[in-house]
Subunit: 241 residues, 2 copies
């Protein structure tokens, strides 16, 4: 990740976290998505061995984490704070689904540092905490069971953010050498000849076999080397008879 990545201007703020293991798991989730700035508001236990254990390879995120007594202090230098809430509309703010709102958060990093704010495991963000955020976001979930684990919510939030930033791409695949139309016609002709010679196919009444084989071959996205292997197999089977 480059230093100038938008992700470098985003912090995750965890407010009043009860379980230190969740802090460590959240740090790990963050780092896998390139977000490394963690702020802890009045955590019940921190530092803690369980946090370190669950952070795994993200111990550096914990070491650099800032602990502050109030959410106001955590947000003092931030120009956009987005509070995550699973609750419906009991506040007048409009909560947007995070997938549609994440690009706005990335754009806002141009103007200043951004915070993603998560509340306590049991109660989530309080109304007061939500009112300290300029935006509210939610992660669409099963209405019968929306209880994402805190670190799981951080994982999804940072994943969406990284994708909105275009931060990480699946490595380019090696180029394939797909068969050409001529390759495929030659293969169908070879198959046809072998099947006629074997007696499987009666050239007087071919039915729809060629159509079926072409339908199947179309799905194969054959490569030139695979076409060569298939020609070799057909030759060998024809010789065998």
């Amino acid at each position: 990740m480059k230093a100038q990545s938008p992700l470098a201007r985003v912090a995750v703020v965890l407010s009043r976290t009860s379980h230190p293991g969740n802090i460590g798991a959240a740090a790990r989730a963050m780092k896998t998505m390139g977000v490394v700035d963690l702020v802890l508001v009045a955590p019940r236990h921190f530092p803690h061995a369980e946090a370190t254990a669950l952070a795994a390879g993200a111990a550096d995120v914990l070491e650099r984490a800032r602990v502050v007594p109030t959410l106001a202090e955590a947000l003092a230098g931030r120009t956009l704070a987005i509070g995550f809430s699973a609750r419906g509309r009991d506040l007048s703010h409009c909560a947007r689904d995070w997938r549609s709102a994440a690009p706005e958060a990335i754009a806002a990093t141009i103007d200043g540092p951004v915070a993603l704010v998560f509340g306590n495991e049991t109660s989530g963000l309080s109304n007061e905490e939500l009112l300290a955020c300029q935006r509210h976001a939610c992660i669409p979930a099963n209405p019968d069971y929306q209880s994402l684990n805190l670190a799981a919510a951080v994982q999804v939030a940072c994943y969406e953010l990284a994708l909105a930033a275009g931060a990480f791409r699946v490595p380019e695949r090696a180029p394939r050498t797909p068969a050409t139309g001529a390759d495929l016609e030659a293969l169908h002709a070879h198959l046809n000849a072998v099947l006629v010679a074997s007696g499987f196919l009666d050239p007087a009444e071919p039915g729809r076999l060629d159509e079926r084989m072409r339908r199947l071959a179309a799905r194969l996205d054959l490569e030139t080397e695979e076409v060569a292997i298939l020609h070799g197999m057909l030759d060998a089977l024809a010789r065998r008879r």
Copy 2:
């Protein structure tokens, strides 16, 4: 979730999971996204108290989980198996990023049951396990630290799947009563009059104040009730002087 949801035709298959806590956390992650069919291939410990504890409200997913000795058995009745791998291209299969591949998985549920397959925490899916899958998918992640926790990977995978299925929507917000153009013009006129009367604004040299205030007001997306409150404030402040 309706019974005929595509998500009802998707199973998560966890192969050779070492830590029972991860099985429980994965079950929780699945259920939050409406995926409830869990298959465990040769888990080291299951059932286990730690799995149950971390499943939280998803204990029913664990209770219904099927334990099988081999991946082949887990996939026997499935018509599409998607193996998740963080590894690059050491296999000839092409791994696609899951966001772009998830809609195909949803479409495939029309034809038959689908499996999302995850390997062991330390080593991931083996080459042999990957070859038993017709598709490979990966979750884009920080190349410097791509080590998503198993349950975190399941969370992201099921989240993408649920979004691809359009399964859960953020609840509709209550309709707002936005101010009209006439409301805003009246407010600007009122503000202007009060500022002139107060001496803050010299009508002979208004400068760009009106432009700045309109720029600000445009960002507010004012509601009719808020316009009324602002008129009242302006009246009160004008009276005060």
